[in-house]
């Protein structure tokens, strides 16, 4: 990545956003780990998955933060590239590991019957791996045609994921309480809104946005999207579990078990 010169404010905006993302991820990790005990037994696996997601993301943000720090040097009141590379591509490892878990935890928290949840989880996991895996060749290519082709290919599993979440999952939760349905709908919209940012970033070179001017907005945008898509999403999962327990009239003894 060719890094542009940055003003003090631009550099520190990215620095602070990456720092915020680290704090949000590890703070959420502690919360999700502790909050598992406030759920009944069958809802805990979803929160264990949330804990894994934010821990893995927190580690990768820590690596990106270190890379950002070493990639710039303060010279005469402005930040200039130090010559060391800025590798924010730790994000790809993070996505390969965590995106399949994000969709799996949504199915896990709904505690559907085995006949429904197992095939649905597999379909979502395979589709999300294909989505990330086929996006990768385009991401590392400088050729805009290659980027476009792989971008299109990776959109196919993305659309399939949306179909599963909006059609199959809606059918499977038709008898859920209104509150659970509302939370589930909000969670899916959060997922759609935050995932929607990634293709925009992917397409920036095709849209003619200069790499230099895009650096700050991309890093800030990715950080905000990741905080919402991982921490915010995890909190929605927790809220769904609480709403389902409430609808089932779970006793304190069941929660403590």
């Amino acid at each position: 990545m060719n890094l542009p010169n940055l003003s003090l404010g631009e550099y520190e905006l990215v620095y602070n956003m990456l720092s915020l993302a680290i704090a949000a991820m590890f703070g959420s990790f502690v919360f999700f780990t502790v909050a598992q005990k406030q759920l009944t037994y069958k809802y805990r696996p979803a929160l264990i998955m949330s804990s894994l997601v934010v821990f893995i993301a927190g580690y990768h943000y820590w690596r990106i933060f270190n890379s950002w720090e070493s990639a710039y040097t303060l010279i005469d009141g402005a930040y200039k590239p130090s010559g060391k590379p800025f590798n924010d591509a730790y994000r790809y490892v993070d996505w390969l590991l965590t995106v399949p878990l994000l969709v799996a935890e949504l199915v896990a928290v709904l505690a559907l019957s085995r006949e429904v949840r197992t095939p649905m989880m597999f379909k979502l996991i395979i589709a999300s791996v294909l989505m990330i895996g086929t996006g990768y060749p385009g991401e590392i290519s400088a050729d805009t045609t290659v980027r476009g082709v792989w971008g299109f290919v990776s959109t196919i599993p993305f659309v399939y994921i949306l179909y599963i979440l909006w059609v199959e999952l809606n059918k499977a939760t038709a008898d859920a309480s209104p509150r659970v349905k509302k939370l589930l709908g909000d969670t899916k919209l959060l997922l759609l809104a935050t995932w929607g940012f990634y293709p925009i970033a992917y397409l920036m070179p095709q849209l003619g946005v200069a790499a230099g001017s895009a650096t700050v907005s991309l890093q800030v945008g990715y950080s905000v999207a990741d905080i919402l898509a991982k921490c915010g999403y995890g909190f929605m999962i927790y809220a769904i579990a609480q709403a389902k327990m409430e609808a089932e009239g779970a006793s304190p003894a069941e929660v403590a078990a």
């Binding site: 264990i48 894994l52 893995i56 490892v93 590991l97 085995r114």
Partner: protein
């Protein structure tokens, strides 16, 4: 005849989640292991880190699958 989710053992939910973790961890471990064996120098992917986290997921998935007794 299949049982409804309400009738089902709570441990079954751990088993399904464990299977999901084993699958995701297994796929990622395989990708990372192939990359390491081939000695791929890839600017985007850190194979060692990927393998470590993937094996961690496999471990957690295995623990979930190993749960036998339901909570009281």
């Amino acid at each position: 005849m299949s049982r409804s989710a309400a009738q089902e053992s709570p441990t079954g939910h751990y088993h399904t989640a464990g299977l999901a973790l084993l699958t995701v961890g297994g796929i990622n471990a395989l990708i990372a292991a192939v990359g390491l064996v081939q000695g791929r120098a890839d600017g985007f992917i850190s194979q060692g880190v990927m393998l470590t986290f993937a094996l961690g997921m496999v471990g957690v998935g295995g623990w979930m699958r190993s749960r036998r007794a339901d909570a009281p």
